[in-house]
Amino acid sequence: MKTDLQQNIIDATQNVFDTMLMLPITSGEPLADKVYQFKDSVSGMLGFSGDIQGMLTIHCPQKVAFAITEQLLGMSVASVDEDVKDTIGEMANMILGGIKDAFLHQGTDINLAIPTVMAGRSYQVKGVDYASWTTVPFCLNDGEFLVELKLKTLK
């Protein structure tokens, strides 16, 4: 499958922020080194399978997770509660939905699982070594978040 994963991630993420959030974001260069240690953060994970298997994860520092939730729900948020977790899970859902569309144009069909959301003062999220990964950082006013796409590489 010939596709520019970086562009797929940027387009899908940008679309969510332009439409439902109406928050300006800028994308950065894909990370050269894996980031897997997170502090005071919220991470939404969503697996997918079908023509290709993988996982999409969005990692947000708490402040950014709060800003996104407040923007989507129109109410202020003081702690990582159900609304914040559901919002980050829904972000993963919508971003991967956009990536699914891009894959479909390439003739690759994927089905989404259900999102899981992790949160904590300090945690690590690790993948498997048989997956390729692309992580794109995005900036908004309240900070930076990462969108990471892992794909099972064909042996």
Binding site: M20, D83, D86, T87
Partner: protein, 123 residues
């Protein structure tokens, strides 16, 4: 009594998000009702009058498609317009929803303008 919209989605957060989008879209309605799945929606519709329904597809207990099927068989509610809200909506899923009576579909993520375009004629 003003217009009432029913939102069916298993995520309470998603229901809040859709509620907010409806208000931002500037549509003419007075009240929003909520249900967590197709069965809850059918139970609610036995007692409450509703002018428009927005429904998720993937829900536990009774999903959006089954809700459409059962609604079609019920004379008192079969004519209420239903718009499906999808994340993964491929042409086949949307086609199936339409064949079951859905008036349209909106794919997440959506702008308030899209809500307006799809819904303003239906409410």
């Amino acid at each position: 009594m003003g217009k009432r919209i029913l939102i069916i989605d298993d995520s309470s957060t998603m229901r809040k998000i859709v509620s907010r989008s409806l208000r931002q879209a500037g549509l003419d309605f007075d009240e929003i009702l909520e249900a967590a799945d197709g069965q809850e929606a059918l139970d609610l519709l036995e007692k409450e009058k509703v002018d428009l329904i927005l429904s998720d597809i993937n829900m536990p207990n009774m999903d959006g498609m089954e809700f459409l099927r059962q609604k079609k068989e019920n004379d008192s509610i079969k004519d209420i317009p239903v718009v499906m809200i999808t994340t993964e909506g491929g042409a086949d899923i949307i086609g199936e929803a339409k064949s079951l009576g859905a008036a349209g579909s909106i794919k997440k993520p959506f702008k308030p303008e899209t809500i307006n375009e799809v819904l303003s004629d239906l409410i």
